[in-house]
Amino acid sequence: MIENLSLLQIAIVLFVTGSLLGLFSRNSKFTRMLTFVPTMIASFFTVLFSVITITGKPFHFIIPNVLPFINFEIFADGIAAFFLLVISIVSFAVSLYSIGYMKEYETTKRTSVFGFLFNIFILSMILVVISNNSFFFLIFWELMSLTSFFLVIYDHDREENVKSGMTYLIMTQFGTAFILASFLLGYIQTGSFSFDVFHNSSSSFPFLTKNLIFLFAFIGFGTKAGIIPLHIWLPKAHTSAPSNVSALMSAVMIKIGIYGMVRTIFDLGGFGLSPDYSWWGLLMIVVGSVSAIIGVLYAVIEHDMKRALAFSSIENIGIILIGLGLSVVFASLNLTILSALALVASMYHTINHAVFKGLLFMGAGSVVYATHTRNMEHLGGLIKKMPWTALLFLIGAISISGLPPFNGFISEWLTMQALLSSYQIPSTILQISVAFASIPFALTIGIAAATFVKLFGISFLSRPRSEHIAKIKEVPRSMIAGMSILAAICILFGVLPFLGISLLDTAFHLLPHPASPFDAITLQNNSAKSFANLSMPVVVIMLSSMAAAIFGFIKVIGGKTRKTTFSTWDCGFGSLDQRMEYTATSLSQPIRTVFKTLFRPHNKIQKEFFGGTDSYLLKTLKVESVTKNIFEENLYLPIISSCIYIFDKIRKLQTGKINAYLLYIMITVVLLLLFVRLSHNV
């Protein structure tokens, strides 16, 4: 307990140190070291803290009456500690990465401000997770939003960055309003701002209140998590932010939205409610499915690397939500084991997504660092110039596509199994509704793989698509190191899933967990037969022995052969060049066509002729394929324009004529007097 507190204190002090050192050091070579090394150490201490908390007792700490009516309370149980672990692992890797990455900005910007915000951002995320009081939760929550907002617009010379920052800030505030409403509903039931009190007395809340609290929390936290249709800030913000910030935001910050939901559900006793509450889970499954499928569909047509990754984050949040929703549904129907399975699936995916999305954003950052562009149409052939980045990015891509033997596969496998287990649900309607979630889920996994084929294939493989790529270099070692940490975890959590699962079982106090690495993850069906098994270590051994066998076989049969290098088959037309390559847009064209209802693609064609307009000789032909963002156009724009319409009507009140102003006063007073006079009962 005591050493725990001091670990946390050390971490907090280090974060603050890092931020201040950053702020007050001049723009020198050491700034990056001074800012990010304390962050790394602090993150390391936080890892220790969370591991100790997960394995040991919950951690509780109060400073009373900092503010009127409000105590400063910290509480870290397994759940919080688990999320803390996610945060700190990723922030460790990202800070290491940032040491190299921030060199990019050194010539144009004050990196010291960046370091300050960066540290405060991570610190606020940590404090959000362990706050045990709605007021301080909101404080840190908004501090997190605020610092991340500033980080998003760090490169504010470009107007579109500022714009996306604004969208982010407004949406996040929209979410906060709902969170606030949810907390305050809890407050009127309990008369306290402390989560402990919520937790302990939630069972006596009225039905309606409970549902409203959940709904508001879901909308509020969902906005942060980027559920559709509240996601519009996410692609914009993640694209505009420096890549290390995008990594943190996408890997960690949106998970805090998930944390908020988990926490709310736990506090409302959501994993043990009556079937009346199963609509919570259904809602989450529906929203999750929609987010997953639409997110990934937008990701696959995107040719901006970071935007594609951002949309993929929406998709993964959707998958996490499907798992979480299933867990709630199962729990409400008293299927405890299945509920635990689904919860593990969802939380496993949470940590997995944190790891590989962090890795991928850092990879994208490395690409930007080296090439100064995010547009895949200008990239290509990077694997030869940046072999390490390419390898690490590939690991991330495979993991996120849910392919064995990496970590993404495990969590998607678990989620799929949870979906399959829906046959145990006693109600048919519920069964079918849950089971139908498997369709978008399956579609999502399929398209996700395609997305990352495209991302990796177009950016790293084949021929460079623009000239200046020829001169690029591999990124600095600290960046490679930062990415390697997460890549290692991707492999580790894929090959040895028992690590992650036992971590989750301990953190969430679930059923006993596999003891040794070779024990399979086993699920049993109704008749106690094996429903499904998965033992990744065995699979990996099989894969490697198969590899050895076939290698030997080929060597033995084939003997010694020669390898000749020659140019790619060009159908005899002469040398190929980069203009003949497949582009990112053309690669996804079939998918775009298949899902044209969603994308509404249309091609803009600009022709230029030799000698006037109606000549036959084409000089240039430019085809641009434009897709629409249906949410922005059909949901947000109408809302905004109707708001502006109302504003326009209201500003007419301020006519500038004093007569009108006096008239308002006169009308007000007469109305109020008449009201009093008429309501007067003699």
Partner: protein, 313 residues
């Protein structure tokens, strides 16, 4: 736990798929030749091809990277490993403890992932074209396959292949109408997954129609051999799955020489029959236009959905 004999049979089953798979391809090629009024090569021709290719020198594109080089190996390793999870003539496989049907699908996807990357790696527009189309197919086929698995798993209590096949062997199809729809879907998926007509023409090298061939156009020598072989394995795995899930007649559920023998023979017969049917079908229809293919896959998905509803009702 399983006995040594069982483990041995498990290994044999896996090896059987790997080794017999070129034969199935050969049978199909022969059937196609016959229906086209040609004599055609011997059904052992794929074996000759593979061995010949392995011995040949390789030409590698100067644009390619290591992705291009490892792709055939990964393809083979993933698909060959997948083969070990499939119960072939015994209703269960001891490897069922390590992985299930979803893992098999995952390994397929891994292989395909790398194939698509390899297609992009060589910087020709053929490769890109192939990958692009394959992206669309895989994106749509994957859910169809998952849904079919879903129905099967629901019907027979799990995604563990051994459980499924064991349950299938002991049951009749009649009480499970959903399986008929699953079978329809599965058949379409097999065609799509293995790149058969009307999805893709394995025999063509016309740029307009190629899908899989376009991706692997640059391969030669032992890389090509591995690619061809792993394609054959994939076909065999899928056929074996169809046969064992939807027509389990004759499969052995105990380890006796007699039952195993019957199981083996009936399996080979059934798979060959299926292969002949597919090949015959291929000869009678033309390749569909690319954007009509999603309609076909939609039929598969719809069929699985009907099956799923039927299961719950």
């Amino acid at each position: 736990m399983y006995s040594i004999a069982e483990i041995l049979i498990g290994v044999i089953q896996g090896l059987a798929i790997i080794l017999l798979s070129p034969l199935i391809t050969g049978i199909m090629q022969k059937t196609k030749a016959r229906t086209q009024k040609r004599i055609g090569a011997t059904i052992l021709q794929p074996y000759y091809d593979i061995i010949k290719l392995i011995k040949k020198d390789e030409v590698v594109s100067d644009q390619s990277s290591w992705i291009f080089k490892v792709c055939p190996w990964i393809n083979f390793v993933a698909l060959a490993t997948a083969a070990f999870f499939i119960p072939l003539f015994l209703t269960y496989s001891p490897f069922g403890l390590a992985g299930d049907l979803l893992l098999v699908v995952g390994l397929f996807a891994l292989a395909r992932f790398f194939t698509m990357l390899a297609g992009l790696d060589v910087a020709s527009s053929f490769g890109g074209l192939g990958s692009s189309r394959e992206m669309m197919f895989s994106a749509l086929l994957e859910p169809a396959l998952f849904l079919t698995i879903f129905i099967v798993a629901l019907t027979y209590g799990g995604t563990n292949l051994s459980t499924i096949v064991a349950a299938v062997a002991g049951a009749t199809l009649l009480p499970h109408p959903q399986l008929i729809f699953a079978a329809i879907a599965m058949f379409i998926i097999v065609l799509g997954e293995t790149g058969r007509l009307p999805f893709d023409n394995p025999a063509t090298h016309l740029e307009l129609t190629m899908v899989h061939e376009a991706m692997v156009l640059e391969y030669s020598g032992k890389s090509l051999a591995l690619i061809e072989w792993s394609q054959a394995i994939k076909l065999m795995i899928l056929l074996a799955l169809v046969v064992n899930i939807f027509a389990p007649w004759g499969i052995s559920s105990s380890i006796t020489v007699a039952t195993l023998g019957i199981g083996f023979i009936s399996l080979v017969a059934k798979i060959s029959l299926l292969a002949v049917i597919i090949a015959y079908l291929e000869s009678t229809i033309a390749k569909w236009r690319l954007f009509r293919i999603p309609d076909l896959i939609t039929i598969a998905i719809a069929s699985s959905m009907i099956g799923m509803v039927l299961y719950y009702l």
